[in-house]
């Protein structure tokens, strides 16, 4: 009886184990997949593409990774096997034949086939990123890199060029041509989830065509080393529907912004302080034309301050004005120690109202 029990129990336990194992395996796989997907995600991840150019590249990457892994493992295994295998004595002619087979097969055929395939895949992908002439000219957005912030211009806006900074709004679902340049040193414009980067070189204009599949916010960061502030030169790129984009531009016509700047008479002292302390470097449409620092005409509507260093919320501007040199050590804006904190507070409050 006990024997039978055992016999009965044995297959049962195996079954149970198996089922458990399957469950475990599934769990592990789920964890891995989640980790993997989570590991690939991120607002600056190449592996989480959100536009056609980036998607093409990431596909090529996975293929290259798989192929490369196979080659690496195979070559290493062959080498290690060469140490382990038993030595066979061969005639010189045989040795020559074997050697030639390895050299021709591994040394010539393998790389030639791989690079030919790669070039055949790669060139068309590269061509799709070229700013070739389209039947309907795409939207053009100019981005100019400064140490260490971004100037963004929309020359295509219907009622005259719109200028803003440290925030980029683009229409989703259509190709956009970015014309980029540098104001001082070389920077690089790169929205990883949309596609490749391009250098922003003083004295030159480089062009790149990118497209966002659907509305979303993408992270971007200067990719070419540009000095002490390099790590703090972020940009948020927001893709919106076409209508929203047009409306956004319309709200930023100079007249509208001017009206905004001179809004409430209660902010008059702040405006005066601005004209004394800030106007020589910063532009606020209708008030000043400074070009050294970022344009502030619609500052209140932006999502971040200091080129992506501080999230915009109530009181953030005041915080920034008081602590900008600690928040962003490279910052070229002088210290505000000589300005009374009440003045700074009023300045912050006024700038927050610049929300079209």
């Amino acid at each position: 009886m006990r024997e039978r029990d055992k016999q009965d129990a044995a297959p049962l336990s195996i079954q149970r184990l198996t089922r458990q194992r399957v469950n475990q395996l599934a769990a592990v796989l789920t964890v891995f997949t989640t980790l993997f997907v989570a590991g690939c995600a991120g607002d600056r991840s190449i592996l989480d593409p959100a536009g056609p150019a980036a998607r093409d590249v990431v596909l090529i990457w996975w293929i290259m990774l798989a192929f490369g892994t196979v080659v690496l493992i195979a070559v290493t295994a062959l080498w290690l096997y060469a140490f382990k295998r038993k030595h066979v004595t061969r005639t010189p002619a045989e040795e020559r034949r074997i050697a030639r087979r390895w050299i021709l097969g591994g040394g010539i055929l393998l790389p030639v086939a791989s690079i030919t395939a790669l070039l055949a895949f790669g060139v068309p992908v590269g061509q799709r990123m070229l700013p070739l002439p389209l039947s309907e000219p795409p939207e053009v957005i100019e981005v100019i890199g400064h140490q260490w912030w971004w100037e963004v211009r929309y020359p295509g806006a219907e009622e005259g060029e719109v200028v803003t900074s440290n925030q980029l709004i683009m229409p989703a679902g259509e190709p956009v041509d970015f014309h980029v340049s540098g104001a001082d040193v070389i920077h690089a414009f790169w929205v990883p989830r949309l596609g490749g980067k391009i250098d922003m070189i003083p004295g030159r204009v480089n062009r790149i065509r990118l497209e966002a599949d659907e509305p979303a916010v993408f992270g971007a960061q200067c990719a070419e080393f540009c000095g002490v502030g390099h790590a703090h030169m972020h940009l948020y790129v927001e893709a919106v529907e076409r209508e929203e984009y047009d409306a956004w531009l319309a709200e930023r016509q100079t007249d509208q912004l001017t009206a905004l700047a001179v809004n409430d008479p209660q902010h008059e002292p702040a405006r005066e302080a601005f004209m004394t302390h800030c106007a020589s470097c910063h532009r606020v449409a209708g008030l000043s034309t400074g070009e050294v620092g970022p344009d502030l005409s619609d500052l209140g509507s932006r999502t971040s301050l200091g080129a992506g260093v501080l999230a915009m919320e109530q009181g953030a501007i005041n915080h920034w004005l008081n602590n900008h040199l600690t928040l962003k050590p490279s910052n070229k804006m002088p210290s505000h120690d000589d300005i009374e904190s009440a003045t700074l507070e009023s300045l912050g409050a006024w700038l927050e109202t610049l929300t079209p």
Binding site: T116, Q127, P133
Partner: protein
């Protein structure tokens, strides 16, 4: 023809470097010529690949390939006629000329498919 080949002394190790030097010269000519052409008279993007620039670059490449291929054959023939050091020299040179010819071919492939100045 035979005398030309003899005069080239294809068993001399100088031929180790001539093939790839020609490759380099081709490379500089194509890269430089292309840069100058794009700076001086860039063709309209609408023309695609059917431009004078592409045609000229292709012509230069074909001539280079022909020259290098001829030298490869010459070296192969020399290698068969000698033993020892001279055979080694000619054989390595033949390989290098062949690589140079194929190198021109491979690096010239994009000329067929890519418009010049974009």
């Amino acid at each position: 023809m035979t005398s030309t080949i003899q005069r080239l002394h294809l068993t001399h190790p100088l031929h180790f470097v001539i093939g790839l030097t020609l490759w380099c010269i081709w490379f500089i000519a194509v890269y430089g010529g292309h840069a100058v052409a794009c700076a001086v008279a860039p063709p309209a993007p609408e023309q695609g690949v059917f431009t004078l620039v592409n045609a000229m670059l292709l012509l230069v490449s074909i001539v280079s390939i022909a020259l290098l291929a001829a030298l490869t054959l010459g070296c192969c023939r020399e290698a068969k006629r000698h033993e020892g050091r001279l055979r080694f020299n000619a054989a390595v040179s033949a390989g290098l000329y062949l690589f140079s010819a194929l190198g021109v071919l491979f690096a010239a492939l994009p000329i067929i498919g890519i418009p010049p100045c974009l």
